[in-house]
Amino acid sequence: MGSPPHFYKWATRSLPWLAGLAVIVFCVGLTWGIGFSPTDYKQGDVYRIIYIHVPSAILAESIYIFMAISGFISMVWRAKIAGMLINSAAPIGAGFTLVALLTGSIWGKPTWGTWWVWDARLTSTLILFFLYAAIIGLHSSIENKTKGDRAVAILAVLGVVIVPIIKKSVDWWQTLHQPSTFTLTSSPSMPPEMYLPLLVCVLGFYFLFIFMLTNSLRGEIISRERDKSWVKKQFFKY
């Protein structure tokens, strides 16, 4: 699992399956949520944007935690793949964070009457975006990729301090944003016809992330190991 050629083979074989799974779950969740779930009695149909907003916000945080774990693994065990994982996950995470911010802003205009408020939740998501940007920026500034992986691992591990603050911030300085949709301790405050499609959407986004990560990791492996004999054998059959 740890060696790049082995991982490459595994990734190539599972990629179509992952893509299929992601597309199916994603489509089911979105059609169910947007087409068939009941209209909110207060917000009307505007609320349906949560079927994109909430999953991408959840992903934005999960991907960061995922990067921190890979960073820790790459720091302690010097695992090559773990280092590449951070590098491949960072742009995806930044993308999901941006989607969460944009959809939230689009939803906020008709509902709260403003594109942006300096609410704790919004601010910390913006900070999360800056953290992703710092990681991407540091990595791109270092010529040697393996060295860059380890530098970024240090930042990712340090950033774990920030993610709990993001989580806690809602309870500390809540102003406008509603509390988390899903918590582990109690059932959600919406009816099941609304949150079940949302759960499917979250699952679909996770599959989408796994697919994108595997895909970009494949490319990363090839570009790093392009001088190795197994890559040459793969692409130039002579």
């Binding site: 900070i127 953290l131 710092a134 920026g137 380890r150 240090i154 950033g159 920030i162």
Partner: protein
């Protein structure tokens, strides 16, 4: 030279060396001080001299200026020692390197942080900070600038030999908890509320940050030796 086998002796040795070097070159402690005062002066110029407005913004302005100037000052903390091989000697010595790194950071804080704290007293007059909050300002900056020096050292180690703006981009998002705690202390003090809770959180961050950030900094410097 006497036989040194105590880590604390080495810690003091590095601290004394760095302090001597800093005092021989006045730019190290004057530049951040002047930078701090200039940034503070810019706010009344940009926002207008209204006393009530400046008074309500004073704590935030001073905090942001202190954050930026201590960050900019720490940017070159390792570059000279890296170039002339002093850092190599730390790594081949038998002492734990992160303690020696902490001595360097502590020296930087003494040389740059302390003048900034003194200048913040002056700025609190410039910006009409309510006088009851002055003690809170000093004590919060005391902890906050040390944390910034630690964070800045990590940024400097990661961006060793690269542009200063890169190390600022790396470090600034991570400094937000410190900024939030510092300004929470200040707004509590201005409203004459108890701020010891926020101060404790900041102290806890520092207690975790000193060993944690120094270890990560060592890890980051090591990257340059491969």
């Amino acid at each position: 030279m006497t036989n040194r086998d105590n880590t604390l002796d080495w810690f003091m040795l590095v601290l004394r060396r760095d302090l001597t070097l800093s005092f021989r070159r006045s730019a190290t402690y004057i530049t951040p001080l002047i930078f701090f005062l200039i940034v503070v002066t810019f706010f009344p110029l940009a926002l207008g001299p209204s006393q009530s407005l400046l008074s309500s913004l004073a704590a935030g302005i001073i905090w942001i200026s202190a954050l930026l100037s201590s960050l900019l000052a720490v940017e070159g903390i390792f570059s000279e020692d890296y170039r002339d091989g002093t850092l190599d000697q730390y790594f081949v010595s038998s002492e734990p390197v992160f303690i020696l790194i902490f001595a360097k950071v502590l020296c930087h804080w003494l040389v740059c942080g302390a003048p900034i704290i003194l200048a913040s007293i002056l700025s609190s007059i410039f910006l009409y900070l309510p006088s009851g909050a002055l003690f809170a300002l000093i004590i919060s900056l005391l902890l906050g600038t040390l944390f910034m020096s630690l964070l800045g050292a990590l940024g400097a180690a990661l961006a060793l030999g690269k542009s200063a703006i890169l190390s600022a981009i790396i470090v600034l998002p991570f400094s937000i908890p410190t900024l939030l705690m510092g300004t929470a202390i200040m707004s509590a003090a201005v409203n004459q509320q108890d701020y010891s809770g926020f101060l404790s959180i900041m102290g806890a961050m520092l207690a975790v940050g000193i060993p944690g950030l120094c270890l990560l900094t060592v890890e980051a410097i090591l990257l340059n030796y491969e």
